[in-house]
């Protein structure tokens, strides 16, 4: 997933699959919208607000996206 498109300041090399992304300093409602737009652009998957809300780690988010592919 192209999180470099979503984040400006976060060190992407430090991200781990099981990291709760909401704990990141840069996480915000705009980062959530950016993540949904990135997923739409990259995978042609439109995540619902509910799906976005229910994922808490990068792995869960990826699994949710994968379930639509």
């Amino acid at each position: 997933m192209k999180f470099e498109d979503v984040f400006e300041e976060t060190d992407l090399t430090a991200l781990e699959p099981d990291m709760p992304f909401r704990d990141l300093d840069e996480w915000s409602s705009m980062a959530a919208l950016g993540t949904m737009a990135m997923v739409s652009d990259e995978y042609d998957v439109e995540l619902t607000a509910e799906e976005m809300r229910s994922a808490s780690t990068f792995r869960e988010l990826f699994e949710t996206v994968k379930s639509h592919l």
Partner: protein, 243 residues
């Protein structure tokens, strides 16, 4: 004062949300309605809930010029238009693309301007008619993530002023209503969670809006009681922009 007896009124986006509610409210006050939307089944449901008779439905994709021209050809001369059809996509600016921008502007702005143009050209807007654009308070603010939607509605607000002055000699009035957050199907279809909207509610001294709140404003604009009102954008936001 709020009677619409004998008036022919067109509503776009009539199959759901503000459009459906406004159509029902106008029919209840004696108007004969032309309902336009893409979804035939939901359009039929709106039709069935209207008071009175003589109403008609038109299945039309506003963004398809041929479909729009065909619909206009079948329309009766109109005394009122309520232009509700709209779409909404929230994203940070860096994710905007030309195709996304075009899609939002096409529905929210260009299609309605073209509809008005075609109706005028075919002399289907009666003298004394009232045209009501459903804009948005977003067009007057700068909420992060709303660029495409806000800019498309801002373009509508500018068009309203030009149309109002151009059409005043024919006694045709043109105004916009700018609602804040209204609980509607369009809202439910966006990529914003229910929680986020509940959070927004705190910023609304009178709470979030209902489709009827916008419907009543549309009725006022449509009726003859507002005959001296043109070129304006009425903010309907439960006091949100006050605080």
């Amino acid at each position: 004062m709020f009677t619409l007896q004998g008036k022919e009124i067109l509503v776009t986006g009539a199959s759901s949300g503000i459009g459906r509610t406004a159509a029902c409210m106008a029919a209840a006050r004696g108007a004969r309605m032309t309902l336009l939307a893409r979804n035939e089944e939901r359009l039929r449901q709106t039709m069935e809930s209207l008071d009175g008779d003589g109403h008609r439905t038109m299945v039309c994709d506003l963004t398809d010029e041929d479909s729009l021209k065909e619909a206009v050809a079948q329309m009766p001369p109109l005394d009122g238009l309520v232009l509700c059809a709209g779409i909404n996509e929230f994203m940070p600016v860096k994710f905007i693309r030309q195709d996304k921008l075009e899609r939002v502007f096409q529905t929210n702005c260009f299609a309605h301007l073209l509809l008005v143009q075609l109706l005028l050209k075919r002399k289907k807007v009666n003298p004394g008619a009232s045209i009501v654009f459903v804009s948005s308070v977003s067009s007057l603010m700068g909420v992060p993530g709303t660029l495409m939607y806000a800019a498309s509605k801002g373009a509508v607000n500018s068009a309203v002023r030009v149309l109002a002055s151009e059409l005043a000699p024919q006694g045709i009035r043109v105004n916009a209503v700018c609602p804040g957050i209204v609980r509607s199907e369009m809202l439910a279809g966006t990529n914003i969670t229910e929680e986020a909207f509940t959070g927004q509610e705190r910023q609304y001294p009178l709470g979030l809006g209902r489709p009827e709140d916008v419907g009543f404003a549309a009725l006022f604009h449509l009726c003859d009681g507002s005959r001296w009102l043109t070129g304006q954008t009425m903010v309907l936001d439960g006091g949100m922009t006050l605080i």
